[in-house]
């Protein structure tokens, strides 16, 4: 099967011109089929603040009321997504920006309000991998915004890591998929204060052991749990690395 690299980058990288340009330069140099998934939370918070809308977070996750849904639809679906698409076109890559509503490629349902009401947030139900694969076969590069829809006319805010994992799993039927999560550090660290303590390869047993020892903690735990789930669903490898390093063979590799 053809190799495909799916890169997920967070808001910090894509929201500043210098880091975005550097990322896009690297992204263009990746060989084979590719997909880019982006965040945009910082810009959403900035625009919300400018509009007088308060950002409420619970456990690091955004609460998306109706006003915030309008903001994330503008920022993720418009501002951030279209700037990336224009930047890739400038570099000769035929990019196409998508939310889950576009071509109905990712359908979700609104998360139940119990135990925590996150508002207009979607849990993914169905991904149309064939639709994405069709585009990629035509040398189109999908650029995925962290928005899905419920099929009832509502857009839903959806975590970009989740979008990346779900898209990778759906594409694994058509491609040999490597899923790359860009992270602010060089990879999964044995010692959080030492950037040179990157774990180059991680097995699920080792992950469980390091989690039990509180070496791997916080937001890295769900990221890695999703990574192992992606492998079980057919994704070839998951890499956790710095955005600067996506063209290098470094970071933490899980396969």
């Amino acid at each position: 099967m053809e190799k495909l690299t799916l890169i997920k980058v967070g808001g910090k990288i894509v929201e500043e011109t210098d880091t975005l340009n550097s990322l896009l330069d690297d992204f263009v140099r990746l060989c084979g089929a590719k997909v880019l998934v982006h965040g945009g939370g910082r810009s959403a918070t900035t625009v919300a603040t400018q509009l007088g809308i308060t950002t409420q977070m619970i456990d690091g996750r955004r609460v998306t009321d109706e006003a915030m849904l309008r903001v994330v639809t503008m920022v993720y679906g418009g501002l951030v997504n279209k700037q990336i698409v224009a930047g890739l076109q400038q570099r000769g890559l035929n990019a196409l920006g998508l939310t889950g509503a576009d071509m109905n490629y990712m359908l979700s349902e609104k998360r139940p309000a119990v135990p925590i009401d996150y508002g207009f947030v979607g849990d993914v139900k169905k991904v149309d991998g064939a639709a994405l694969a069709d585009l990629i076969a035509k040398n189109i590069v999908p650029v995925l915004a962290p928005l899905t829809h419920d099929g009832k006319g509502n857009l839903l805010n959806t975590n970009a890591d989740t979008i990346a994992g779900e898209a990778a799993k759906a594409l694994a039927r058509y491609f040999d998929v490597t899923l790359v999560y860009c992270f602010e550090k060089k990879g999964v660290l044995l010692d959080e204060t030492d950037e040179n303590s990157v774990i180059p390869h991680l097995t699920e047993n080792e992950f469980e052991r390091l989690k039990a020892q509180n070496v791997i903690v916080g937001g890295m735990v769900p990221k890695l749990t999703n990574a192992f789930a992606a492998l079980k669903a057919g994704v070839r490898a998951v890499v956790i690395t710095k955005a600067d390093d996506i063209t290098k063979n470094v970071g933490t590799r899980i396969e």
Copy 2:
């Protein structure tokens, strides 16, 4: 050739839930291949105001400085476009929202700053009708936002009437195209104060005569000039009608 209807609707219709829903219900009922082009100027002005950005208009056209470009990218490419796409998916139409940067389907160049500096506004240079036709052949309904790009990484604000006309001309190689401009009145009126004075058919000679007599004035003049240019470029018919009437055989028909 297969029939294709390209509907252009302005901001007023797509920015209010009731009129948008009614339009989408009608749009779904249209037979054959279809494309929807939307504006969004009112929402852009509202969001700009909320963000403390002043909207400057010259001859009814928006001046798009860098701050305003961010606003229209958010509002046209995100908010309005994605709400329409989600609404069409809800109605079973497989919609895909596009700016000119997406799939590089509409390339433009920044309008010269002389005689009037409109800022980041694009004049269309090249339309990839084949890319749109490919999507339509797969039963995908393109939803076109009034944004293009210059191939140098910049998005450019582009009049929705122009997007509609250029897309219609590019699609005329593949389809029997009817271009429908939704208008606040029932069509081109012989007497602006009388909604019953719609001119059912208009020839270019008649248009020139009525223009010389100042019966047809204002924004209708460029709209009709573009309409006749579209016919010469292979578009089968141009219809000017009320958004409520797109499924009826009424309004002013030019062919």
